[in-house]
């Protein structure tokens, strides 16, 4: 009975079992679309600031000159799950909104992303604060691309998002399983 329950929760993560099976199948195409969009947006070059001499700032954060910014692209898989790619001449900001189906997932997602973002220096490309309306953001500048391979960077981001989803799903299942065991033990005292 426990396994059956945990299976449906896993289905729930990938797409509700009650019939939006289409959602479950669009996960890989969604990631593929994000991947090719990132491939295109991550064409960066060094571009010193036009406003302050001897300064080099990520233009997507400064947003000083309109001609340096590219059109932002939003890729929405569902209402809640979407990806925003904002590009500029020397930097790209990629923001993800993670699917949060219920209260528990909202709390888990919030705590998990907060944990990650506090350690964003370790992740190098992660942003300490997510963009408005999103769960997590990455800021990639030309210096990152000079040190790291673009293909591997894109692989990393896609893998990261997949893993976050899996982690949150696993945490939720573990939480519910633990709660069930605890409740069982507690209520045994009241059983005949």
């Amino acid at each position: 009975q426990r396994e059956r329950a945990s299976l449906t929760e896993h289905d729930h993560r990938r797409g509700r079992a009650d019939g939006a099976a289409a959602m479950a199948t669009t996960y890989q195409p969604y990631l593929k679309c994000v991947r090719s969009t990132l491939d295109a947006a991550l064409c960066l070059r060094n571009f010193p600031s036009q406003i302050v001499e001897r300064h080099n700032k990520p233009e997507i954060e400064v947003r000083g000159s309109k001609e340096l910014l590219l059109n932002p692209i939003t890729i929405a898989r569902t209402e809640q799950e979407k990806c925003l790619v904002e590009g500029s001449v020397n930097s790209v900001r990629v923001s993800f909104a993670i699917k949060q189906a219920d209260e528990i997932e909202r709390i888990l997602c919030h705590k998990f992303t907060r944990f990650l973002m506090q350690r964003s220096e370790q992740f190098v490309i992660m942003r300490r604060k997510p963009a408005e309306g999103y769960s997590i953001s990455f800021l990639i500048t030309h210096t990152h691309l000079e040190k790291m391979w673009k293909a591997k960077l894109v692989d990393f981001i896609i893998q990261f998002m997949e893993d976050i989803n899996k982690e949150i799903s696993a945490m939720r299942i573990a939480l519910n399983a633990r709660a069930r065991i605890v409740a069982e033990e507690f209520l045994k005292d009241f059983a005949a």
């Binding site: 195409p29 593929k32 679309c33 491939d39 590219l70 059109n71 692209i73």
Partner: protein, 104 residues
């Protein structure tokens, strides 16, 4: 066949909408393009992408991305469109979507 021709005609009309700054006209035209895209089956999708040339492919990709901004049931089909168009025209077409000032 008629449906593919409809879509082609809408794509040909797109540049004048793109050059204007009228948001209403752009949304109206976008809605027509989405209904035309909906009515094509996957096989027709493949045929159309094979027959189309780069300029129209770019415009179509712009509409696909516009459609992906809002979540709807068609998004699964839109992902397929994006995949096919990118396979044919390469990453460069996405770069053109990102950089072109004349948005759709």
């Amino acid at each position: 066949r008629g449906r593919m021709a409809d879509l082609m005609r809408l794509l040909d009309d797109a540049p004048q909408v793109m050059n204007s700054k009228d948001a209403e006209a752009k949304s109206a035209h976008a809605r027509k393009v989405f209904t035309a895209l909906d009515r094509l089956s996957e096989k027709q999708m493949g045929e159309l992408v094979d027959s189309i040339e780069q300029d129209r492919g770019d415009i179509l990709l712009k509409y696909v991305y516009r459609g992906l901004e809002v979540s709807s049931e068609n998004n699964a089909a839109l992902f397929k469109w994006q995949a096919k168009l990118t396979d044919k025209f390469g990453v460069g077409s996405i770069v053109r979507v990102l950089t072109d000032r004349k948005t759709v």
